[in-house]
Subunit: 392 residues, 2 copies
C-alpha cells in the first residue's frame, strides 16, 4: 500500500464517522496529496473501496503516477453514474459528497451540482487541512531537502552581497541559486488571492513598507500590480536586509528568515533582533506535543510587551499581523497557525515555521524564522542555516 493509499484510508475512516458517501477532491494540491499525481481532473475517494481518478489530461501521465484507478473524465453526463457505482454502501440513498469549498470556485461547484443531481454537499476542506497538518516521514524528508537547498543558496549568495545592489538583484541571485539546486519554481498558497514571489527579500525602509500579504515582513515590490517583497531599493551599509525565503522540492516547501547587515545594525535594531532570537528560543522551550498552538503566540506577546516592543511586533500599527508562525508543507499557509483561536494541541509530525519579527517604519525589519518538526519528545529544527545575525 502506498503512502497515498494510506492517506485515502485515513480519510475514508473519517468519512464513515461522518456518514459521507465520498470525497470529490478537486484542488490540484489535494489531488496530489491523495494519489501522487497532479493531472487535470477529479479524484473521487468513496467512503469504502478504491479511489477513482477521472482525468481530462494527461491520462497517460496519470496512469503512470497515480495510486488510484484512472479513467478518462469523458462526458459529465456519466459522472453521477460512475460515482454512484463506487458508493455501493449508500444503496439508493442520496449521496453525501464532500469537497473543498475553501478553494473551489462557485461556477465549477455549480457545474458539479448539476452533474450530480440529488447529492448533498459537505465542506471537507477543514478535514483535508487537518489531515495534512501531520506529516509522514517522506514529507518531512522532502521538507528537509528543501531546507538544505535554501541554506546552500543563501551561502552561495552571501559573498555577492555588497552596497549598491538592488533588492531585486539580490532576489534574482537567490532564485537562480535555488533553481540550480532543484527548487521547482513555485511557492503555493491556499488562501484566495494569495501569492508569494519566493519570499520577502527587502532592505531598510523598503522592508518596512506594509503589504497586503498576510505576513510580518513587507516590501514595496516592483509595481502596484505585485505589491510585495523586492523592489528597486539599494542595499546600504548598516541597514537590516531581511532574507525571508523558501523553495519547493518534491512538492514541499520550506520557509526561513535570516537578517543580514553590511557592517553593524544600530543599537535599537540590534536589540530588537536579539529579542526576536529570545522569543524564538523561548518558543522552542515550549514546543512539544500537547502544547496549544495559540499559547505560543500569547507567550510571545507577553515577552514582546516586557521588552517594550509590542508596537513593532509582526508589522507596525494597523498593518500588524496576528500570528507567530504557521504550518507548512505542500502549501505555505497550512495548519496549525500559532495565533489566537487556534486550539490545536501540537502533535508529532507537525511542521511549523516560527517567525518573530519587528518592524520599524522608515528603518527596516529585523527577525528570524526557522521551521520545526514536532517530535514525540519535543522538536527538531529542519532549517539548517547558521544562527544569528549575519554580518557581511
Amino acid at each position: 500500500m502506498t503512502i497515498f493509499q494510506l492517506r485515502q484510508q485515513w480519510l475514508q475512516g473519517e468519512m464513515i464517522k461522518r456518514g459521507w458517501s465520498g470525497f470529490l477532491v478537486t484542488h490540484h494540491v489535494d489531488i496530489y496529496y491523495y494519489c501522487g499525481s497532479m493531472q487535470t481532473g477529479y479524484l473521487f475517494i468513496p467512503a469504502e473501496g478504491e479511489a477513482l481518478y477521472l482525468v481530462r489530461r494527461s491520462l497517460i501521465r496519470a496512469e503512470e503516477e497515480a495510486s488510484a484507478d484512472v479513467e478518462a473524465l469523458g462526458s459529465w453526463k456519466t459522472l453521477a453514474e460512475r460515482l454512484r457505482a463506487r458508493c455501493a454502501a449508500a444503496g439508493d440513498a442520496p449521496l453525501r459528497i464532500a469537497t473543498e469549498l475553501d478553494v473551489l470556485p462557485v461556477q465549477l461547484f455549480g457545474k458539479l451540482q448539476a452533474a450530480l443531481p440529488g447529492a448533498a454537499w459537505e465542506d471537507g476542506s477543514l478535514l483535508v487541512r487537518e489531515q495534512r497538518m501531520i506529516k509522514s516521514p517522506d514529507e518531512v524528508a522532502a521538507i528537509r531537502e528543501a531546507a538544505r537547498v535554501v541554506d546552500a543558496a543563501l551561502e552561495a549568495v552571501i559573498p555577492h552581497i555588497r552596497e549598491g545592489i538592488a533588492e531585486f538583484e539580490l532576489m534574482a541571485l537567490i532564485e537562480h541559486q535555488l533553481r540550480l539546486r532543484g527548487h521547482q519554481g513555485l511557492m503555493r498558497m491556499r488562501a484566495y488571492n494569495s501569492e508569494l514571489i519566493t519570499g520577502m527579500v527587502a532592505t531598510g525602509a523598503a522592508a518596512a513598507v506594509p503589504t497586503y500579504f498576510d505576513g510580518p515582513a513587507g516590501g514595496t515590490g516592483l509595481h502596484p500590480s505585485s505589491p510585495q517583497s523586492s523592489g528597486r531599493a539599494l542595499l546600504v551599509r548598516g541597514e537590516p536586509i531581511l532574507v525571508d525565503i523558501g523553495c519547493m522540492v518534491d512538492g514541499y516547501l520550506i520557509d526561513q528568515t535570516r537578517t543580514l547587515v553590511i557592517g553593524d545594525l544600530d543599537p535599537e535594531l540590534q536589540r530588537a533582533y536579539d529579542v526576536a532570537e529570545q522569543v524564538l528560543r523561548a518558543t522552542e522551550a515550549k514546543l512539544q506535543p500537547g502544547m496549544i498552538a495559540e499559547h505560543l503566540y500569547l507567550l510571545a506577546l507577553d515577552q514582546v510587551q516586557e521588552a517594550g516592543l509590542s508596537a513593532h511586533f509582526m508589522g507596525y500599527g494597523a498593518d500588524q499581523v496576528k500570528f507567530l508562525g504557521h504550518g507548512i508543507g505542500l502549501e505555505i499557509d497550512e495548519l496549525p497557525v500559532l495565533a489566537k483561536g487556534f486550539k490545536y494541541p501540537l502533535a508529532p509530525g507537525m511542521v511549523i515555521a516560527i517567525e518573530p519579527k519587528f518592524t520599524f517604519p522608515g528603518r527596516g525589519v529585523v527577525g528570524v524564522e526557522d521551521t520545526y518538526l514536532i517530535t514525540d519528545t519535543g522538536w527538531e529544527k529542519l532549517t539548517i542555516s547558521r544562527e544569528g545575525l549575519i554580518r557581511v
Copy 2:
C-alpha cells in the same frame, strides 16, 4: 479621470443596461484592473457614483494607489449598509450584485451572501473578461516592455546554450536574466488549478511528454508535484529545444516561443517547423478587425491537414489541445481564445498570442509563438525576437 476610473465607468454602463446595482470585485487581478491597487479587500463599483475600496490591509498603500474611495474593511456586519449607501438608485429594492463566480471560492461566497441578506447575485466574470479583452494604450505599452525583456533575456542566454546542460539549468539562466530586467516573478493564470513556471522550456523527447497544462508544449517537470516544463533532461545536438517563455512587467504578461537547435534538425522536424511558420504567416494574413476568432483556428487546421501533420498539431493523440492562440494581458489565459466556439470578432486593442506547434513523441516539439496587437487596419507584432529557427 484615471484609466482605472474610465474602466469603472464602462462597467457602470454595462451594469445599468443589465439592471445590476453594483459589482463587488473580489479577485486581486480584477481589483487591480479597476482601481490600480492590489491590496487585500473588496472593490465595490456601484452602477452609478464613486467606487468604494474596502481594505483589510494595507490601508496605507491602498490610499496611495487606488482610484476609488478607500475605507477600512472593518466589520462584515456593516457591509450591507455601506454597499446600500452607494446604491441610491436602487431605492429600497433588493440589490442585484455581480461578482466573479469563475474564481470566487464557495466558502467566501457563502460569507458574502450571509453579509448581504436579500441581495440577488449575478455572475459578472464573463463581462469582466470581455472588457479586459480590449487593451488600452498603457496596457499595450506594458506588454511591449515585457516583450523587450523576454527578447533581451533570450539573447543573453543563447551564448550559454551548449550540449550537456540540463533543461532546468537553461530555465534558471533564463529566469535570472528576466528578473534582472524587471520581470516581477509571477505568471498569473485565471483558470482553477492552473500554474505556469515562467513557461515551457524543454528539449527533445522530454518536451513531447504530455502535461496537464492546457497548452501544446509539454515537459516532464522536476517531479509529479509540478508536472510540466523543465526537468533534468540534457540538451543534445540535433534535438529541438523549445523555449516558450513569458514574463510580467507592470502587471502585464508576454508569451513567446522560439525553437532552438544545437546543429541542425532532422528533415522531418525541420519541415514541421517550417509548416508552423507558414501557419503563423497565413494567420497573420487574416488577422484584422472583424475576423472571427474560431475561423483562425479552423483555417490552421485545414493547413495542417494539407501538410499531413494533423496528428501532431498542438500536442499528440489524446493530449492534443484544441486552440491556436489566446488573449493575454494581466493573465495568460485571457479572451479571445482562437478555438472552436469562440465567435468573438477581432477588434482593435486585442492582444493575442498565436502559437502553432507540432509534437513528435520521443523526438520533440517544434513551433513558434508571437504576440500580436490587433490594430484598426490589421496587426502589429509585439514580440520582437528574431524570426526563424535559432541555430546555436
